[in-house]
């Protein structure tokens, strides 16, 4: 039985047990004088029975699907002949993939090891029995659950409260997903990073100035440990982020100020949505724009005044990233500026200050903490931005502060290391996770501080 038909059966069963539970509650109530003698409405008895059917059945289904692969993997290997057992883990996973292929499509190739064909047959029979067993076990669990539920149906049974507490458990679990996600992120980057740091020292990684992980692909090469000094990546990231901030902060801030303090309602209503379009454009589009339009034109401009500009200059990526962040800065500043009470402005106007004096000397200082928080969030965004730099910045890990040179960033390297032909568990792949750890740590710190500042600021004027 396939998984999807099992799910359909469970759903049909859920409906059936709902009707059963409801019916049973009504028949319990009938001799007492109708359903108003029940503790809860009949539907709650139905829902209760239905939930006690579906939760065990679906729970077993989910657990089964998560673990059946590894169980089958172990069972298949257990039945393998000696000469295959002796292989290394990497070779094993390669062979296992082949066996999976044979199991799924069959193989007419006579050169294949007969042991593998046998293993594939074994795997198929295991898969079959696994599916049958799953269907039996999950439906059985459902039946037991709903039987208990139905036996509990009495006029005094508090079905509503039980159903509500089950729903509440679901609500609590849902809200905990945020925490689980964070834990998942930390665990996934941390574990792989620790394995990376077994082969490359953290000191070398964090303070080394030579980055060339490509060398490490071939194990037999002399420099097989490669160059894993990430400083050029960090400086590249900082350079591009700095250029982006140089564009985004003044433009975003000034347009927010102009729109909230000077512009008429009409202008504001027209301009704001247009600027917000910039926030909705996917980053891959910016990347395309940067790589195919901005970078060549910057190069041409540079050449026309005799500058040598790399075709993957940090300037192009930074400029476009800045444009992307403009609406982000501007909407955050807008919120912050609006939080400054009108009384402050009145106080300043009442003394005869002009608008710009009021903004520069009263509103801006008052809003400064909030703006700083917003800019920090924007920086964190620039550091973590991926597609623009992947498409418009290069792979060359240059240690330079010249915006006309090509630089590479942390995110570019993560993508490159994990999307090419990769070898699992090589320092090269693991390095991506180490970079991810650094990226996560930095952005998390920035976010926590920034959100703290912004919240503090909001409270001040509430």
């Amino acid at each position: 039985m396939s998984t999807s038909s099992l799910i359909v059966i469970i759903l049909i069963g859920a409906f059936a047990t709902f009707m059963l539970g409801r019916q049973r509650s009504l028949s319990v109530a009938a001799p007492l004088g109708g359903k108003r003698h029940l503790h809860s409405l009949p539907n709650y008895y139905g829902s209760f029975s239905s939930l006690l059917w579906a939760i065990p059945a679906l729970g077993i289904l989910a657990l089964w699907l998560i673990f059946d692969d590894s169980v089958i993997y172990n069972l298949v290997w257990a039945s393998m002949p000696e000469h295959l057992q002796a292989l290394s883990d990497q070779e094993r996973s390669l062979i296992y993939n082949q066996i999976q292929g044979i199991a799924m499509n069959g193989s007419a190739d006579p050169s294949v090891d007969p042991a593998m064909i046998k293993a594939a047959e074994h795997m198929n029979s295991l898969l079959d029995s696994s599916k049958t067993a799953l269907a039996i076990v999950s439906i059985l669990a459902g039946i037991i659950g709903s039987a208990i539920a139905l036996s509990l149906v009495k006029e005094t049974f508090q079905a509503r409260n039980k159903v509500e507490s089950i729903i509440k458990v679901f609500l609590i679990l849902s809200s905990c997903i945020a925490i689980l996600t964070t834990i998942g992120i930390v665990l996934s980057v941390l574990f792989e990073s620790l394995r990376f740091f077994q082969s490359v020292s953290p000191i070398e990684f964090l303070f080394g100035t030579h980055w060339s992980p490509q060398i490490a692909i071939r194990a037999d090469q002399v420099g097989s440990s490669g160059g894993f000094g990430a400083i050029p990546l960090f400086t590249g990231t900082l350079l591009i982020s700095a250029i982006a901030m140089f564009v985004a902060v003044p433009v975003g801030l000034m347009s927010a100020i102009y729109l909230s303090e000077y512009a008429s309602h009409k202008v504001r209503d027209m301009v704001k949505p247009v600027l917000e379009v910039l926030a909705g454009v996917p980053t891959v589009v910016y990347g395309f724009f940067a790589a195919l339009t901005v970078a060549p034109s910057i190069r041409n401009m540079g050449e026309s005044i005799g500058l040598s500009v790399s075709s993957e200059s940090a300037l192009a990526a930074g400029l476009v990233m800045g444009v992307m962040i403009i609406p982000f800065v501007s909407s955050l500043s807008d919120d912050v500026i609006h939080a400054v009470p009108q009384a402050m402005r009145d106080g300043s106007y009442g003394l005869g200050a002009t608008r710009s004096e009021t903004i520069r000397k009263v509103v801006f200082p008052a809003a400064l903490p909030g703006i700083v928080g917003g800019v920090m969030l924007a920086i964190s965004r620039a550091i973590g931005e991926t597609m623009i730099v992947v498409m418009a910045a290069g792979l060359a890990a240059n240690l330079t502060a010249n915006p006309l040179d090509a630089v590479t960033t942390v995110t570019v390297q993560i993508v490159t290391l994990l999307t090419g032909d990769q070898e699992f568990d090589s320092p090269k792949t693991l390095a991506a996770f180490a970079l991810g750890l650094v990226l996560f740590a930095i952005t998390l710190t920035l976010n926590v501080i920034a959100l703290h500042i912004v919240n503090k600021y909001r409270e001040q004027y509430e």
Binding site: S174, L278, F289, I359, T411, F433
Partner: protein, 426 residues
């Protein structure tokens, strides 16, 4: 009074300078806004300018003789034979017939290059649909090769600027045009095909379907979970450390770089739980985690906007808290939650980086049929094409961007419309 007078004199003396700086400041603001608007315009003009031509394509109408001998078909009912028949030979023969003067290998090769390498698929499909065509001659529209198409779109009369076209081809095309055999038409291939190495055969349909399945998974998971989480946090959560922790986590996750979610997907979903790589399923899981904070935050705002009086009214007539939520709070806040969900979905639709990490960067020719088929999504397709050097691919990339932007604009416009309607209600 003289002191007062001098004050006013001082004030007036400084006025000119102050107004100049006021003007300057205002101009800074105007320039900033104009810069922003200019960027929007430049972006859209650039992409539309590059991409609009991809929606048209040129075809050549050729009389094709489905010669059974040449095709190598002995039994028309044998589909295997139809699949493996030599269509290229037939096409080449027809081209040679059109231009009998062409001789020499290189010349001939240039002639064959007029139509796409994938033209045999068109003939194959025709023969599969209508076997009676065998040994008949019909006029068939075959799409041109990408270089020919690029030339016809952009370089007619400027042959010297485009080295991928040969003088002979220019002549042949002129002849074909005179004979009315050169047709420009809406590019249906672009919307019906999957990826291809040949630009003229490449389309976005596989990517669109991939995006569709991925979004379905994302929507089915993120909406219920986000609403449940929002309801819990707004209506049930006690004010304690644990709740604070959840809130801090949600706010921070909203600002975590998307690529980190890709790493999570790779390490947890693929390596640990064994979810198949490159599939909309795992893509949907990752995007769910990514969009959850957005939807939770806007759902909470929607729940908050329900007036407390309604809650009190429900509780006052003896509803349980859960009944109050399901009967009153949820229906009233649903439009706001849907608005947030649409915005979250738009964000998911445009997302690229995390999907690269989980292998949705594969070269997908076949249209995915379920959430467990290998697939790619529209933004990743854009990323893949943008790397290709052919001018035709640049054109296609821009066109794919236009399609993506159209979807995003439609979604956001719908969200704004919903929000406007919501505002009217309270």
């Amino acid at each position: 009074m003289s002191e007062v007078k001098s004050t006013i004199e001082k004030v007036n003396a400084g006025l000119g300078k102050r107004y100049r700086s006021e003007k300057m400041f205002q101009w800074f603001g105007i320039i900033s806004i104009c810069f922003g608007l200019l960027c929007v315009l430049a972006l859209f003009f650039d992409i539309i300018g590059k991409g609009h031509s991809a929606f048209k394509h040129h075809s050549i109408e050729i009389p094709i003789m489905f010669d059974a001998d040449k095709l190598g078909i002995t039994d028309i009912n044998d589909t295997k034979q139809i699949y493996s028949a030599n269509y290229d030979g037939v096409i080449k023969a027809s081209l040679r017939e059109l231009f009998p003067n062409v001789s020499g290998r290189t010349e001939k090769r240039k002639l064959y290059k007029l139509v796409s390498n994938g033209s045999y698929l068109t003939l194959q499909k025709m023969l599969l649909e209508d076997p009676s065509l065998l040994n008949q001659t019909t006029e068939v529209q075959l799409i041109t090769d990408d270089d020919i198409d690029t030339y016809l779109k952009h370089f007619v009369g400027k042959e010297s600027e485009f080295e991928r076209i040969h003088a002979e081809q220019v002549e042949w095309l002129a002849t074909l045009r005179e004979e009315g055999r050169l047709i420009s038409h809406f590019n249906t291939v672009f919307f019906q095909a999957g990826d291809s190495r040949e630009p003229e055969q490449a389309g976005i349909f596989a990517a669109l379907m991939g995006s569709f399945y991925t979004l379905i998974v994302t929507l089915c998971l993120s909406f219920p979970i986000a609403v449940a989480a929002a309801v819990y946090l707004e209506e049930f959560a006690p004010k304690n450390k644990w709740t604070d922790l959840i809130e801090v986590n949600i706010n921070n996750l909203a600002a975590v770089p998307s690529i980190i979610f890709g790493l999570l997907g790779l390490a947890i979903f693929i390596s640990f739980f064994g979810v198949p790589r490159s599939t909309p399923l795992v893509g949907g899981f990752v995007l769910t985690l990514m969009t959850l904070p957005t939807i939770i935050i806007s759902s909470r705002a929607a729940i908050k906007s329900v007036p407390p009086s309604i809650r009190e009214a429900a509780l006052g007539i003896g509803a349980s808290r859960m009944q109050m939520v399901t009967h009153h709070v949820l229906p009233l806040s649903l439009p706001g939650m849907l608005t947030g969900t649409i915005i979250g979905m738009a964000q998911a639709l445009g997302e690229t980086a995390p999907l690269l990490m989980i292998g949705m960067i594969a070269f997908i020719v076949d249209i995915p049929g379920s959430v467990t088929d290998p697939a790619t999504v529209l933004p990743v397709q854009i990323f893949l094409w943008s790397d290709s050097p052919e001018r035709a691919f640049t054109e296609k990339t821009s066109a794919a961007i236009m399609v993506l932007l159209a979807f995003l604009i439609a979604m956001n416009a719908f969200a704004i419309y919903m929000r406007k309607r919501l505002e009217k209600r309270w």
